[in-house]
Every structure is written in C-alpha cells, then in structure tokens.
C-alpha cells in the first residue's frame, strides 16, 4: 500500500457547501421545479389492518386543479416479483409495494396519490378524499406477543448484519458458580422515528422519450435508480437520480421511500413532471427504530474478571419483512468472556418494517450491556472504569482474531483525565450542587468499520483543473469537504484545484451512504482513481517528452502550477495543456474501482471505539434530569477533517442525550396508531437542553482497515451516551432505570 502525502487531510475545514446551505441557495429534492410541474399529495390509511372497500374519487376529481387520483385500482401494471422491489438494503421478506392492492398492512399506509396543478389543491383534495375500509383484528404491541418470537430470516441485507455467534462454554454453569452476578430482563426502549430537518421529497422531471431525471431525498442515488428501473421496467440509462444536498437522513434514506414511487409513477402515467413531498406527520408512516426488549446476565469473579455473559434481544418487526440489527454481538467483542449465550429474536406485528436509524443495533445493545457492567462494578465495589480496564479485550474474543487497531484504552485514560472521572465519590447520592443531585456515569462505545467496493473517476479538465466524481451523496456529514481533501492529497494538489462532484447516479458507483463506511469506501476509491490519473498523466508526459520522464514513477512526480514535473527536479516539467494536446482529448480521465481484499480483512476485527463520560444533575423534587457535561473520547483511525469529525460526534452525542431522555413515539395500541407524529409531542432536545459537550480524538494508526486508515464516525458518537447517562442517573439518585427514555416520574 502506498502512503500518500497528507497535506489537506487533518485540516479543520468548514464545509465547502456551508454558505450555500445557510443562505438557502442549496437546492433540495423538493425544491426543483419545472414549467409544467404537478404536485402529488399522499393519502394515508386511517386503519391499521383490513381492506379498502371503496375510494370515493369521483367527487374529488371534480375539484379545481385536480388532475388524477392514483389508487390500487388504477395504478399502472408494475413489476411482479419481490426481488424487483428489493433495494440494496431491503430486509429479507416481501418489500412493501405502494398501491399494490386493497390490503392495509399498517396505520398510515399510503393508499392514494392526489395529483393537482398546485400543492394546495392536491393537499386539500387529499384531506377530503373519503375511503371506506373493512377493518380486521390487529396487534401493534409486540411485548404482548412474545410467544411469537422467532429467529430472523437471513437475506442479502443480513450479510452486513451478522446474526449472533453460537453459544460458547457453559453459560448457565459459569453464571451459577460465579460469586458476583447481575441479571435483568426489563431493558426496553420504545419506538423512535426519524426526524431529519428535510422531509422526504422527490421531484421527477419527465424528459420525454422514456427518460426521467429524479431529484430524490436519498442516501444512495444508484439505489433509487435501481429501484425505479426495476419496479417500472425502465432501462437503467433512462433513469437518472440526483441528490446534491440531503437535509439529514441518518438511515431514513437508505431505502427508497414511497414518495419516490409515487412521484415516478405519476410522472410516467401523466407524462408530466411531478413532485411529491411528505409532511412531518407522514415521516411517521415508513419505518422506525424498532422497540426492543432485552435481557442481560453478567457474572464475574471477585477480582472483576467477567466469567459469563448472556444477552438476549427481542425486537419488533413487520409482518412482511424481517428487519434485523446487530444488537447482542458487541459484548464479547468488547470483553473477553469464556461462557456466552447471545440471542436475537423478532416478533412480527402490524406495523411498517423498522429501518436503520443512526447506529442501528449498536445503540440498542450497548445500553443493557454497559449498564450491566456498571451494576456489576457496584456489586464488586470496583470503579466502573477499572472494571472495564480489568476486562480489556486485546483481541476480539467472539471471532478469536486481532483488531486491525484499537486505542480504546487511550480513550478511557484520556477521557477520564480530561473529564475528571476519578474526582467523583463512588457512593450514589453522595454528590450535590444546591438542591440538585449530581451523578457521573461512563460507558464504552464500539461500531464496526466497514469498507465496501466503490468506484471513482478523476479527470484533468481542459482548464487544467482536476475533477473527481462519485455517485455518493452527502447527507450532511461533510462528504464533499472530506472527499475534496482526500482527492487533493491523492493528486498532490491544492484544494482550489480540485472539484469533487457527487450525488448523481450517472457518476461512478458508490454504495448507499450509511454504516459509517463512506469515508473509507468512497475515500479509498477516490485515492485509487487519483493515483490512476497521476499514472496516466505520467504516461502521456513520457509520450510527449520521453527522455526527460523515462525513469520517473508516479510517486516521484508533482502536479503544481499547471505542470507535471519531477519532484526532485522541478524544472523538468510539462504543462497540463501540452499533456492535453498530446493526448488528443479534451480532458484526461482515469477511473478505478476499489475492492477491499476480503481475505485480508477477514483476519481482523475492524472497529471504531469510544468512551463516554457524562455528568447529570437531577432535581430531586421534580425528577428533571439535565446532562450538564459530556465528553466522548474516540479512537477511529485517521481523522480527515477535525471540524466535520467533531460535528459528527457532537451530533451523535446530542442524539444520544435525546435517546436517553427525550425521544419516543407513543403508540395507541387500541387504535394501532402513533399518537405523537409531530415535533411538539415527539420530544427532541433544544439548545437549552444541551450544555457542555467535549470531544477528544485519540491518535490511532491503522494500516489495515483501508488505505486512508480512517474508520468512520457516523455512529460512534451516539452509542455510548444512553448507557453513560443511565449510569450517571444511578450515581446521582441511586435508582437503576432500565427503560429509555428515562422519564422524570421514574425517579420518584
């Protein structure tokens, strides 16, 4: 592996597109227009299960501006097989097909699309469309159906989400014989819904001759392209999906959502451009973090050595797909344990399939694991951090293989030092500030570091600048900025000389943007493409002026001041213009696919780690909890841009606070519907709820994970916060709350 000169990487750059975003100049999927644009508004079912009997479209079609109402009765004929509806991230099962038939599978299911000349006309007509239903018995409360729990089905999407490893040793015996035990079966978190700032929207431009240009809110332009082509029987080359800006997605845009289907269907049928934007309430009608019930048992010797671990998760899924997460696998990666029993089961109920939400599974599973460790530490009269150091994993015990790199110990030590962890008095309820109880809590975080295949293209343009392209999106993480830095370094040029173009399915393939793997995946492809371009340019230079560059190699040339030159002898140079002339082309391109070597990678467990330290204040009279201070120390390999990296971690920490104390979608199980589909009643923290947040990046070098040595930061910021907060609440109040979010009244 060649190392590249890192001049731009490591710079704390602001987002290159930041000014466009804050001034409103950046256009999002629902903001593109066409002269003949039509507006679609979706009508959702008002029962959780049953059949549509009659849709009274006749009267509504007479309303002003109404063009058409699409329902299961008049939709065009579409692809027949399940696989044609399966996108790159579809769980095993039968993907939901909008407007497929009269059957209602969940509350809020899209049942009609009203298309009108104006948004207001479409919305009004949708609000008065009358539908008769035949109701059927349903159940939405999976905790009442635990007898139905079963192992999940396997499928394409579960390749990236391994099921739990087989039991090891003899858990029951080891647990029973260990002197110190902790056991609980009531860890639970409720349903959570995605609330990105930008709601899902698709504008489909009908270009004629069967061609579509689609502006979609998505985390994967190619994934949306694939879905549209398959479902509507179109040729890939006729479908172009563009997503230049994405106003947050966090997993909600990994799979194509129904507004894409609706917009494309209407455009094809009406031969007009059509925009469909979902409302905030409709953001609660496709997928969610599944509510999950968990049991955990941990036992240890008197010296703190963990001897036995049993972790079981039972999660909700839909009746039509087995959505899975990696919930229980983390414990034996973080801690060496000889006797383990790890189980993961699903209970199908009448809801839409859950979907990935920031750190799916990790933020779920680490909660009981890291709380149980805290409880164990108190049983042992050990400091919780010392217990983790005592059980520090030098290698991944679950797979019996080394880590590609692991600086978690430094996270613990540097984090504890900066936070002042050891200043606490261990006794619960022993720290006070005025009339508030003060508590410190900590927890460990982990998230796998994947690298997937991706392609990129690098070009020397006729203006003598460099352009690098990938179909990848930037969901607000700073991908544009970071890729520009990586490309500049890989080419050996300044930032001003490189333009990174992205968010377009016509560009070289990138997988959906999720799983914290974008920098490693797309970044590695960008490096490969840039190096390929340098090689090509050198080759042309040799052709132009063979004798001077004969012995030069790619690593020994510089691209500066519009010239390719020998690094050692800068006066031996050939201008970019000359290279272009010699090549006989308008621009010089090179593209490269980076395919990580599975055999090398299989030898190592690759993961980012973190340690979170949290201080809470609890008003004893009211139970009000404030996270007054939180610090996360992160080991995630190379940090390409400390500023966007810190923002990623801070954003994750805020979500962790939210998950611990605020967010929950409440279901009225009598009606089978969500009660709080709006931001007034679905609580998320506001500025006043967020206080002092600190981030440390621990130095970590990793030559194995990918050529950049970067592990990804999208999820590692959230995972440790909820257990750290629950542990701090215990330290403050003496109460162990196993449910998230922790409500004030649970502390009374």
């Amino acid at each position: 592996m060649e190392t590249i000169n890192q001049k731009q990487q490591g710079k704390a750059l602001s987002r290159l597109e930041g000014a466009l975003k804050v001034t409103g100049a950046a256009q999002y999927a629902g903001e593109y227009s066409a002269p003949d644009l039509l507006y679609g508004h979706v009508v959702n079912s008002t029962i959780p299960k049953g059949k549509i009997q009659k849709i009274y479209t006749e009267e509504i079609l007479k309303l002003p501006g109404i063009i058409e109402i699409f329902t299961h009765e008049n939709r065009p004929s579409l692809a027949w097989f399940n696989f044609q509806y399966s996108d790159m991230d579809a769980p095993p099962g039968s993907p939901f097909r909008p407007l497929h038939d009269a059957e209602i599978k969940y509350y809020g299911q899209p049942v009609a699309l009203v298309v009108a000349e104006s948004f207001e006309e479409a919305r009004f007509a949708a609000s008065v469309l009358k539908i008769d239903y035949e109701k059927e018995a349903f159940t939405t409360n999976f905790t009442n159906q635990l007898d139905d729990a079963r192992a999940p089905k396997r499928g394409f999407a579960t390749l990236l989400k391994p099921l739990p490893p087989k039991p090891k040793g003899d858990f029951d015996k080891a647990f029973d014989e260990s002197p110190v035990q902790v056991s609980a079966d009531d860890y639970y978190h409720g349903t959570e819904h995605h609330n990105p700032m930008e709601m899902h929207a698709t504008t489909t431009m009908f270009e004629g001759e069967g061609k579509l240009t689609i502006y979609d809110k998505t985390q994967g332009t190619v994934n949306s392209q694939l879905y549209v082509a398959n479902v509507f029987g179109l040729s890939f080359k006729d479908v172009r999906v563009i997503a230049p800006y994405v106003g947050g997605a966090f997993g909600s845009g990994l799979q194509p959502q129904y507004q894409l289907f609706m917009s494309v269907m209407a455009a094809l049928e009406l031969k007009r451009s059509v925009r469909v934007t979902l409302t905030r309430a409709q953001m609660y009608t496709f997928g969610h973090r599944p509510p999950t019930l968990q049991q955990i048992k941990v036992a240890a010797e008197m010296d703190g050595k963990i001897t036995a671990l049993h972790h079981k998760a039972t999660a909700e899924t839909s009746r039509f797909e087995d959505y899975t997460e990696v919930v229980v696998n983390w414990g034996n990666i973080l801690y060496p344990v000889e006797n383990t029993k790890l189980d993961y089961e699903l209970v199908p109920v009448d809801v839409y399939s859950p979907l990935d939400m920031r750190a799916p599974g990790g933020s779920t599973g680490l909660h009981p694991l890291e709380c149980a460790l805290d409880e164990l530490a108190y049983e042992l009269k050990m400091d919780p951090l010392d217990l983790r150091l005592k059980n520090y994993a030098e290698q991944d015990d679950s797979e019996n293989r080394p880590f590609s790199s692991k600086e978690l110990k430094e996270c613990y030590l540097q984090g504890a030092e900066k936070f002042g962890w050891y200043n606490r008095s261990p006794q619960p309820r022993s720290m006070r500030r005025g009339n508030r109880l003060v508590g410190y809590g900590m927890a460990t975080g982990i998230w796998e570091s994947m690298t997937l295949p991706a392609k990129a293209e690098a070009t020397l343009t006729k203006e003598g600048k460099f352009r690098v392209r990938s179909a990848v999106t930037d969901i607000g993480t700073g991908t544009l900025t970071v890729m520009t830095q990586i490309a500049a370094d890989a080419l050996g040029v300044g930032l001003d000389e490189v333009e990174f173009e992205y968010g377009d399915s016509k560009m070289p393939f990138a997988p959906i943007q999720g799983g914290s793997y974008t920098v490693s995946t797309v970044g590695s492809a960008v490096v490969a493409a840039c190096q390929a371009l340098r090689k090509r340019l050198l080759k042309i230079a040799q052709k132009a002026n063979g004798s001077l560059f004969e012995t030069a190699s790619e690593s020994k040339v510089s691209l500066t001041n519009g010239h390719l030159s020998l690094s050692e002898k800068p006066d031996v140079a050939v201008s970019f213009q000359e290279l272009l002339t010699v090549s006989g082309k308008r621009m010089i391109k090179a593209s490269k696919t980076n395919i990580p070597n599975p055999l090398t990678l299989k030898k190592y467990t690759r993961a980012a780690h973190s340690a979170a330290f949290v201080e809470v204040e609890v008003d004893e009279e009211l139970g009000v909890i404030n996270v007054t201070r939180a610090l996360t120390a992160v080991a995630a390999g190379t940090i390409v841009n400390p500023k966007t990296a810190r923002s990623q971690i801070v954003g994750g920490m805020v979500w962790g606070i939210s998950k611990a104390l605020r967010e929950e979608t409440i279901t009225d199980h009598r009606l089978g519907r969500y009660m709080n589909p709006n931001l007034a009643e679905y609580h998320i923290p506001v500025h006043a709820d967020i206080h002092d947040l600190d981030v440390i990046f621990v130095e970590e070098k990793d030559d194995i994970v990918n050529p950049l040595g970067s592990k990804g930061l999208g999820e590692i910021g959230i995972v440790a916060l909820p257990p750290a907060i629950a542990n701090a609440v215990f330290h403050a109040t003496g109460k162990r709350i196993h449910q998230l979010p922790i409500h004030f009244d649970m502390l009374l």
């Binding site: 009279e621 609580h683 009244d745 009374l748």
Partner: protein, 275 residues
Amino acid sequence: MISYEFDYTRPDTVEAALDLLDDDSKILAGGHSLIPALKLRLSAPGKLIDIARIPSLKGIKMDGNELVIGAAATHSDILESDLIKQHLPMFAEGAALIGDPMIRHKGTLGGSLAHADPSADWPAMVLAAEGTVVVQSKTGTRSISSDDFFTGFYSTALESGEIITEIRFPIPAEGTKMTYQKFVQPASRFAIVGCAALRHPDGTARVAFTGVADAPFRDTAVENAVGDWSEEALEAAVALTAQGMEFNVDHYASETYRHHLARVYCRKALKALLY
C-alpha cells in the same frame, strides 16, 4: 391544515358584537386556541366576531377599591402594567411564563378565561386573586365569581349570547403576598401543573391549581391547613394537595406524577410567600 371558509367581522363596540352573536358564531379574542381548533375542525362556526380591538375592552385601571382588567387586555399588556406590578404582581409573574412573545402579544385574558383550557395559566391566578368575571349580553350585565366560573373541561358559566367584558379584583391589602409557579410543557409552554397562591396579612390563604384536573380549582383543604405558616403546617397543607381530584393523564405526565408535581408546586408557592 387549512381552515374552512368562514365570515369574519370586527365590530367597534360590545353592543355591535352582541348584535352579531348567534348560535353560528364564535367570539375571537386573540385566536391562539380558537384558530388551531378551526383548522382541526374541532369547532366550525360560520362566523368569527373579533372583539380583541374593541376600545372599551382594553386597558387596566383602578375603579374604587377594585383593579379592573379589560377582557381584551393582552398577556403582554398585563406583564407591562405598573398597576399590576403594584397590586397584583403575581399576574406579571404569571404572564411572563405564558407561551412566547408572539402569544403574549396576541392572547387576551378574557379569551383565555372563556376558552377555559384545563392547562391555561390565568384561571388559577384569577381564582387565587378572587376575580369576578363581568359579562354582558343584550339583556344587561352580570358578575360571576371566579369560584363559580369554571365548571368543567373547557366549560364555564358563560351563557350563549354573553361576552366577557372585564375581570375585577379586590385590591389586596398592604402586605399581601402572592405568587404563581408552574411546571411547563417544554414544547407548548402550557402548565403541566400551575399553582397560584395568595397570603393575606391575616395569614389566611387562597390557593388554586391549573393543569391538574379537568378544570382549574381552588384547593380549600390546603387553604385551611396553612394555619400559622409554620414548616409543619405547610407540610401538612402540601400533603392535602388536590385530594380526591380526578387527575389529567397524558403521555407526558401520569396521574401519580401529576399529583406529585401538584404537591411540589404547592410547596414551592407556599414557601415563596413566607418572606
């Protein structure tokens, strides 16, 4: 949601408003509760009669030994009034806790009382300050003691054809102490529990709650138990808070937690009157 079509009129006098008032109309006096209700079709009058700018309903003034707040005085008018700060400081304290600046500049005292939201702030304060609600109809005017005004969930003693014109308060004797304390819903700023308490110089008290039950109420058990305002007496009074009430329950606060909050806020309010 978009509201349906309705007629809107803005008469200049109460008499003109009364002439317009019929079964198909609603009085608009700020609109922060009524307009959302119309949008949600929870209420669907054919006509709105806007009284918020009728001059005779505005203003805050002294009248003999009473302080008079016009029904169309906004929360902000009350917050900024020197007369209020001098005689009913609890009203300024409470006004500052209502919603946000926009709501405080639009919402009115009369509108809030007539609407009788079980979580609204003013009803508790009006009860504690012994307010009298003056209403006018085509047949004349009548006064309703605040003790008789709030009859249930969004229900009052107002008859159809009546408009609240003013709320009158006895001027508290020198040395009277009063406070309004509330636990806010973080998004709406409505009171999950609000407690208004007033301590007369002779040691007698008036204590009223909002947010706790279907309707705001005076808690006479607490009032009677404050005795000599000793710590023991106050704790005994706090223990009696909202006894026998049917509590509001929502996903934000259970019955147990609301009852607990009522006791905590009762204690906070009583203790605020000690010095």
